[in-house]
């Protein structure tokens, strides 16, 4: 279910681009203390690289994405906010952990997911990439809320989506549809 959380552009015009600095501002404004990540080529330079240079949020590098689901779950029990930054292939690999830990235990696991090889401007369900096309239908089948972050105008969705996830103790996926600059 793609959810409308009331977009706010944060004064950004829709340039057809996606600025990593804007995404990072939203992550920090949402009081994320830990970013847990397996590198993803879509978000590598525009997000992970600058996040790695920063001390806050603290970056925890994991070997496999399902580790990150568990780490974020445990942090939630400690009332500490976190974001799992991964590629859609890792999301698909972690379905059982997301099913059990995020969905069945109703935990606010916030996932930012790069869509590998998605064509910029093309909605994920219409991508030529099979792996990209199936992401939203799988999340819908699991009952996991998701939001598309494709251009700067979408960045305003990030904060409300994270706030809702924590307020309702439910997982959320923010798909990154193009490489942030």
């Amino acid at each position: 279910m793609q959810v409308d959380v009331g977009t706010r552009s944060g004064g950004m015009a829709d340039t057809g681009l996606l600025q990593g600095s804007g995404i990072i501002r939203e992550i920090k404004a949402a009081r994320i203390e830990f970013v847990v990540s397996v590198p993803d080529i879509t978000t590598s330079e525009g997000l992970l690289r600058p996040l790695a240079r920063d001390n806050s949020p603290r970056l925890i590098r994991v070997c496999k994405e399902d580790e990150g689901v568990a780490i974020c779950a445990a942090l939630a029990y400690c009332n500490r906010r976190s974001l799992l930054l991964i590629q859609h292939t890792g999301l698909l690999d972690s379905i059982n952990a997301i099913r059990a830990v995020a969905v069945e235990y109703s935990l606010p696991i916030c996932m930012m997911v790069g869509l590998l090889q998605k064509e910029p401007g093309v909605p994920p369900p219409q991508s030529k990439q099979y792996g990209v096309r199936i992401v939203e239908p799988i999340l819908d089948a699991m009952g996991v809320a998701h939001h598309r972050i494709e251009t700067d105008i979408d960045i305003g969705r990030i904060g409300p989506a994270i706030e809702t996830a924590y307020a309702e103790s439910q997982p959320v996926v923010l798909t990154i549809g193009r490489r942030p600059s």
């Binding site: 830990f34 603290r58 925890i60 590098r61 994991v62 070997c63 496999k64 399902d66 580790e67 990150g68 689901v69 568990a70 780490i71 974020c72 779950a73 445990a74 942090l75 029990y77 400690c78 009332n79 500490r80 976190s82 059982n96 952990a97 099913r99 059990a100 830990v101 069945e104 235990y105």
Partner: protein, 187 residues
């Protein structure tokens, strides 16, 4: 070779308000021996216990976190050894109960049974302190000092099953257990 329930009884004497993350058969033995709201049973999926424990250790650096892992479970998430060593939480103690089987799933042997070296895996991954025990008296003699060490500490325990526990998965996955844990942790 040691009996798991006897090892747990020794360990329980050294646990007070620590967070304990036990898995599968060990979990059912542990909660019978040491019922406590800071027992974290909600790992959700096999293999994820050390990852949950790492999150708890990072989120609550003021508390010691003990993970009571299984050998089959750890084999599902060997990368977690590297992740834990990299994060290097000082409040993290990783026990593995090595019985050579998937005890909760029909007691089939794990791959590599009797050939693999779990403490060796941990040492190679970067855990600074790794230990093996197959004798209860030695474990009883050393455990207090090991728990005083800065983590991450890795302790492999060669065990045979004790009395079969009651596998109460409804309890393990219950919402009440999770809410009690959160209340105890943040109360």
């Amino acid at each position: 070779m040691m009996r798991r329930d006897e090892v747990l009884k020794v360990l329980a004497r050294h646990v007070s308000d620590d967070i304990v993350v036990p898995v599968y058969t060990t979990a059912f033995d542990w909660i019978a021996i040491h019922p406590h709201p800071l027992n974290y049973l909600c790992v959700g999926a096999m293999g994820l216990a050390p990852s949950h424990a790492l999150g708890l250790a990072l989120g609550r650096p003021d508390k010691r976190v003990l993970v009571l892992d299984g050998d089959g479970s750890l084999l599902m998430n060997l990368g977690s050894l590297v992740t834990v060593a990299e994060a290097a939480p000082r409040n993290f103690v990783h026990f593995v109960f090595e019985n050579g089987t998937y005890e909760a799933n029909g007691a089939h042997p794990i791959p590599g049974r009797d050939r693999i070296d779990f403490a060796g895996f941990a040492r190679a991954a970067g855990y600074p302190s790794c230990h093996n025990f197959d004798d209860l008296a030695m474990f009883e003699k050393d455990i207090a000092a090991l728990l005083r060490q800065d983590g991450p500490v890795f302790i492999n325990l060669k065990v045979e099953p004790g009395s079969p526990p009651v596998y109460d998965y409804k309890l393990m996955h219950s919402e009440k257990l999770r809410s009690d844990f959160k209340a105890a942790l943040n109360g």
